[in-house]
């Protein structure tokens, strides 16, 4: 904290008579710039004194506002410790509003004391209630989404088809370049790193199997889901969250629209359609990445690489990856929309919703992926 240097010179004089009555005579301005310095100096000087009575003389001050009042309040607090009472002289009535202000202050001080005690208990209770409330919202939103989908199946016309297509473009088409690039590089890296080992055994050809199995059944769906969670999950949460705090969702509700059908269903449906497609693209680009390493570094032929890839990839592997990506799509869009609808408060709440949407979806993606892996080991 910066202390203004230019106010080191005293803006008050202290005098003491024989009986031990002290008078402090303020002069000049008592405002935002001088108050901190006055408080510092005055309190340290008073520390060494033991006054019988204490008078603050305000006759010479040229400006007095609530920062000046603060000086007097601090002075009063310090004197109270010495069991001494502060009296005021204010003939020029520069500080004429001071008495009103001071009674205001004493009134508010009592409120503060009571509140501090209450606050801790309140916070504990509030966070407990928050957990219960969040669980209720969680359950009711899940139910509401399922009911909305049932409604859409029975009345397909109530689906907002234009919104859905727009969401598909934002979530799918616009994400294609980054997913293609990431997957291509990932395929490249897997092939290159494994070639260092497999080359020793002359098992270069199996790099094609490794890349294709790893990407199609495991890494493709996960990478795609993580990129979509970062790009679109956060966008869903932020978009719906800012609509929530600006009362747009309430407006929709009052106009007779179901916010879930209006906002959540198009996003969830769009994700369910485009995320598996993105996953397929991711698989293809990763295999292409592996192919580049295979052909240019390991001297495999394109046809032998592709034949080996086709040989190990069966329909089950592809369907396995795709079905995983459908589950991930539901998780990402559902969590994004849920966090959006849960948003309360101001601008920071929108940011929190977006962050929380990404973190929760990535956690759930990994969790469900491990559940898939465990399930698969029992199935086979």
């Amino acid at each position: 904290m910066k202390k203004p240097e230019q106010f080191k010179s005293k803006s008050y004089d202290i005098s003491e008579d024989k009986q031990g009555n002290i008078t402090v005579r303020f002069h000049g301005k008592m405002d935002v710039q001088s108050s901190a310095a006055i408080i510092d100096q005055l309190l340290s000087e008073i520390d060494s004194l033991s006054p019988l009575s204490f008078t603050a003389d305000l006759d010479d001050i040229s400006h007095f506002d609530d920062f000046g009042l603060l000086v007097l309040i601090e002075l009063k607090k310090a004197l109270k410790k010495k069991k001494c009472v502060l009296s005021l002289t204010d003939n020029s009535s520069k500080a004429k509003n001071i008495h009103i202000l001071e009674s205001d202050f004493e009134r508010s001080a009592s409120i503060v004391k009571r509140k501090r005690l209450q606050r801790l208990i309140e916070q504990v209770g509030e966070s407990a209630l928050e957990v219960v409330y969040n669980f209720r919202v969680f359950a009711s939103f899940l139910g509401s989404v399922i009911l909305s989908f049932c409604h859409i199946f029975r009345h397909p016309m109530s689906l907002r088809i234009n919104d859905t297509i727009l969401c598909m473009e934002k979530t799918g088409v616009n994400a294609l370049p980054i997913i293609a690039l990431i997957s291509f590089l990932l395929g490249l890296v897997i092939a290159f790193m494994s070639s260092l080992q497999l080359e020793q055994f002359g098992a270069n050809l199996y790099i094609a199997s490794l890349v294709s199995i790893a990407m199609v059944s495991e890494l493709g769906p996960i990478m795609t889901a993580i990129v979509v969670a970062g790009r679109s999950g956060s966008a869903f949460a932020a978009e719906i969250g800012s609509m929530k705090i600006s009362e747009e969702i309430d407006a929709l509700f009052v106009m007779g629209f179901d916010p879930t059908i209006f906002l959540a269903v198009p996003r969830i449906l769009a994700s369910i359609i485009v995320v598996p497609l993105l996953t397929l693209f991711s698989d293809i680009f990763a295999i292409a990445g592996g192919l580049v390493v295979g052909v240019f570094i390991l001297d495999l032929t394109t046809s032998s690489y592709l034949t080996q890839t086709i040989k190990v990839l069966n329909l089950f592997e592809v369907c396995w990856g795709i079905s995983k990506s459908i589950v991930f799509a539901i998780i990402i869009s559902w969590v994004g929309c849920l966090k959006g609808f849960q948003t309360k408060g101001g601008a920071d709440a929108v940011g929190n919703a977006a962050t929380s949407a990404v973190v929760s979806s990535i956690f759930l993606i990994i969790l469900f992926d491990s559940m898939f892996a465990v399930g698969r080991s029992y199935w086979r």
């Binding site: 935002v32 509003n97 205001d104 503060v112 509140k115």
Partner: protein, 256 residues
């Protein structure tokens, strides 16, 4: 001659190619309450933004304390702005901070006081806008009127000598509006703060304004200046009388 605190000279403001304010000149005198008024879209808020340096004019100058804020360097502008408080239309409280933290922000930055003293000051500020006990509330937990008061408390944090209020009573009920009007008068009286208000709330105008400046959308300039009570009956411009008397556009034509 009264002391001028702020002067606007030949100000021209545009949005793109459209001229919003054309050649405006006005003075704000020390200790007065000046109301800038006019119909919706006449450039009241634009004028306010130019007066505090938030927007740069296409030509003309704005002098505060004798310094032209349209050409001065950032440091000077910053120092000038320390002496100015602004209440924005939607209060503009920082939503991630409590009311107390919002008010403490300028105080801790510029006064050098320790936390305990700042807490006392926050209480004083909140008392002066009759919002005591609300320092731990987030802005989103406050009603419209309370937000305005909290915004006002923040604008008053450093006891500015010049206070700008953008639509201080918009969207508030008549009782709260009149309380805010009282508050404005009190601040002006207690601290001698010069206040510039942008509004088209007639009650506020008649209660607090010592002088008004009326802008017109068509001419994009000042069409009336003076005491609102006088202008209401005796302004030579029918538009000004219509505004103050809430008449329809064609005063009598539609009856005939």
């Amino acid at each position: 001659m009264e002391e001028k605190l702020l002067s606007v000279r030949n100000l021209v403001a545009r949005y793109g190619d459209e001229v919003i304010l054309d050649n405006i000149s006005l003075d704000v005198f020390k200790g007065e309450i000046l109301v800038i008024l006019g119909g919706s879209g006449c450039g009241k808020s634009t004028l306010l933004r130019h007066m505090v340096g938030l927007s740069a004019p296409s030509s003309g100058s704005v002098y505060i304390d004798g310094a032209d804020i349209t050409i001065c360097d950032t440091k000077t502008l910053h120092n000038i702005l320390k002496g100015i408080g602004i209440l924005f239309q939607n209060s503009a409280l920082l939503s991630s901070m409590t009311v107390g933290e919002n008010i403490a922000l300028p105080i801790t930055e510029y006064s050098g006081l320790d936390k305990c003293s700042v807490d006392i000051l926050i209480n004083l500020k909140l008392c002066s806008v009759e919002l005591e006990g609300y320092e731990d509330y987030l802005p989103s937990q406050l009603s419209g009127g309370m937000k305005k008061r909290a915004g006002l408390a923040r604008a008053l944090a450093l006891n500015p000598k010049l206070l700008f209020l953008d639509e201080p009573t918009a969207g508030l009920d008549p009782i709260i509006s009149s309380e805010i009007d009282d508050l404005i008068l009190q601040i002006n009286e207690k601290f001698g703060t010069t206040i510039v208000i942008v509004t088209h709330d007639l009650d506020t105008i008649f209660t607090v304004a010592k002088r008004i400046i009326m802008l017109d959308k068509k001419t994009k300039s000042i069409i009336a200046e003076g005491n609102p009570k006088y202008l209401k009956d005796y302004s030579p411009d029918p538009l000004v009388r219509q505004f103050f008397n809430r008449n329809l556009k064609t005063e009598t034509a539609w009856l005939q």
